[in-house]
């Protein structure tokens, strides 16, 4: 065990757990390496001890997670996988189940159904082994109100074996001048950044950030983004929840869109936004959009909205053929299309389309 002061009677249950076989969900890669061909177990069968897989397990693996509060389902069958050394953004409106999911990963709540593994470990059962490896930034608070910024970070640093230098971290987050200021007298943005510093001071393998830039000014937001980019480059995994589409598009390797407690879409920002798209132009009002539509590839759509503004939506994506068809149609009629531009969808469009809801509703 990590601490020599743990009395023996409290050691043995943990050791038994360590070496006992356990049930895990089917993981094709894990099964293939753990068993020779032909000996593959069915999903849910016993697999060998997990010690061998901890180092290579995904950052987070959630299978069919259910969590109810009374009669309300906060999480309803969510499955999600996040890789190490990647930034995974969980995107969704308020009440979508983002915070509940993250707090189950952090070990604060137990799942009602389903399994959750963080770095290959059970967040509740293996909490002692997991805590040093995981950094947590709560949505708000968590820091003693009268503790000074530098003092608090130094105390937290002394909980870890090889922490970052608190002074350097404060400097990088633009808090060097606030070292001696009590938490309660820091601005909201400074409090957020101190909270972020607290999450990374122990040099974790995986960081959970619950809305890290909520309420930050643009400069503080960029400092936060730089830190997240740096963490990722250094090999740490980052799971963050956010309302901000631009944040997810800019930072995330993968975006998981969550609504009503379930995953509705999952992929890189390019995958999610890349398909389909729009071509927009301005011209005199009242053009015959039916004739335009007839000139376009099947599956396209064309409309005038508002007057003089035309939108052509591609079935799959806006390609050179579609662009040529539109300009040819204009040329035949002597129409000079103005402000012609091709727009890919934003995550905001994707989200609206998938859930019928605005993100910040």
């Amino acid at each position: 065990m990590s601490s020599p002061s743990v009395p023996w009677p409290r050691c043995w249950p943990a050791i038994v757990l360590h070496f006992s076989p356990r049930r895990i969900q089917a993981d094709p890669a894990g099964v293939a390496t753990a068993f020779p061909a032909g000996a593959r177990p069915e999903p849910g069968r016993l697999l060998p001890p997990r010690l061998a897989s901890v180092g290579t397990a995904p950052a987070v693996e959630i299978v069919s997670l259910v969590k109810n509060y009374g009669r309300t389902a906060a999480v309803a069958g969510l499955s999600l996988r996040a890789e190490r050394s990647q930034v995974t953004a969980i995107l969704g409106p308020n009440g979508a189940g983002k915070t509940t999911t993250i707090e189950i990963c952090e070990g604060y709540r137990r799942p009602d159904e389903g399994t959750v593994r963080v770095l290959g470990l059970d967040p509740v059962r293996d909490a002692r082994e997991l805590r040093p490896k995981v950094g947590v930034m709560l949505q708000s608070g968590g820091i003693p109100t009268s503790a000074r910024a530098g003092e608090y970070l130094r105390v937290l640093a002394s909980f870890y074996a090889r922490p970052l230098d608190p002074a350097v971290l404060l400097e990088r987050l633009g808090l060097a001048a606030s070292t001696r200021i009590p938490f309660k007298r820091l601005s909201g943005g400074q409090q957020q950044r101190l909270s972020l510093a607290a999450a990374v001071i122990g040099r974790p393998e995986l960081v959970f950030l619950d809305e890290p830039t909520a309420g930050l000014d643009p400069q503080a937001r960029h400092a936060t983004w730089d830190l997240i980019t740096g963490l990722r480059a250094a090999g740490a995994g980052v799971i963050l929840t956010t309302h901000h589409m631009d944040e997810a598009e800019r930072l995330a390797d993968r975006v998981a869109i969550v609504d009503h407690g379930a995953l509705v879409a999952d992929g890189s920002p390019a995958q999610l936004t890349g398909t389909a798209g729009q071509l927009r132009f301005r011209a005199e009002p009242g053009l015959d959009t039916d004739s335009l539509l007839a000139a376009l590839p099947a599956g396209s759509a064309a409309k005038e909205s508002p007057a003089g503004h035309y939108v052509v939506e591609a079935h799959d994506r806006v390609d050179p053929q579609l662009l040529a068809a539109v300009t040819a149609w204009c040329a035949e009629r002597g129409i000079l299309a103005q402000s012609l531009r091709i727009e890919s969808r934003t995550l905001e469009d994707v989200f609206l389309e998938l859930t019928g809801r605005e993100l910040r509703s």
């Binding site: 002692r128 608070g141 105390v155 740096g230």
Partner: protein, 265 residues
């Protein structure tokens, strides 16, 4: 920040997780709690200024008839009991209640410092503060003419009583802080401070209360502690077994209930 952005991102240190040894974590947490407590004016008022003022005021003016003997010899043990109560119970309940309310306990739950380590740190903080209080109160008391029985036995029995009372008051503090809203804890802890100040034999002798009430008051932790300390320090008696048992019973009961009922967030 934008100028330093790229280098900061490029040279970020690689992950190197690991927990510190438990004693280092506990010492760091205890020192943080001690420093924030000693910076808090309201808490200082409660744990140091009020006891010392009571000691000075009641030892000079015959506001209350303490019975035979020097006034200070009666008063000082009661003030020591008040000091223990103010730190282990009132101050700890209020601080922990607000830590729970502001998510401090929740946040600590995700660090390598385990709950047992946190409780150890809190206990250590209380003991250090009690030591500071005792030093000040004994010094002021001696200056005011206090002459306690101070043999080896008296010191040992006093320490034993104080430790048992600290456990009992801490159990009560954590029970309240872990189950009530922070505001309710604040109000109730201050109210109980006043109640125990009045009914706990701190400045008003328990013998002044009706004969039927006296045995009941000695079953309260404050009454048992002040009675026990007075028996040892004022009268030079041996270990007050009954008072010690009362305190131990309170300690076991409150800690057992607190361990089950405490909600960390």
């Amino acid at each position: 920040m934008t100028e330093t952005a790229t280098p900061a991102a490029a040279d970020w240190p690689a992950p190197a997780p690991g927990a510190a040894p438990l004693p280092r974590m506990v010492a760091a947490q205890a020192s943080l709690e001690l420093r924030t407590l000693l910076r808090n004016g309201e808490q200082l008022l409660l744990i140091l200024i009020i006891p010392v003022l009571l000691l000075a005021a009641f030892s000079h003016e015959p506001l209350v008839n303490f019975g035979p003997g020097k006034r200070i010899d009666f008063l000082a043990p009661g003030i020591l009991a008040l000091a223990v109560m103010s730190t282990a119970f009132t101050s700890q309940a209020i601080a922990t209640g607000f830590e729970r309310r502001y998510g401090v306990l929740k946040r600590l739950g995700s660090t390598p410092l385990r709950r047992s380590g946190l409780i150890t740190a809190k206990t250590l903080t209380v003991l250090v503060v009690e030591l500071l209080q005792a030093a000040v109160i004994v010094a002021v008391g001696l200056a005011l003419g206090w002459r306690p029985h101070a043999g080896g036995g008296a010191v040992a029995w006093s320490l034993l009583l104080v430790l048992a009372a600290t456990a009992a008051f801490s159990g009560l503090a954590l029970l309240m802080a872990g189950t009530l809203r922070a505001e309710a804890t604040l109000a109730a802890a201050n109210l109980l401070y006043l109640v125990m100040l009045g009914l706990g034999g701190v400045v008003f002798p328990l013998t002044k209360f009706p004969a039927d009430a006296q045995p009941v008051l000695k079953l309260l932790p404050a009454g048992a502690l002040s009675d026990g300390l007075r028996s040892v320090l004022q009268h030079g008696n041996g270990l007050p077994v009954r008072d010690l048992l009362v305190l131990a019973a309170w300690a076991i009961a409150t800690i057992a209930i607190a361990a089950r009922a405490f909600r960390w967030e």
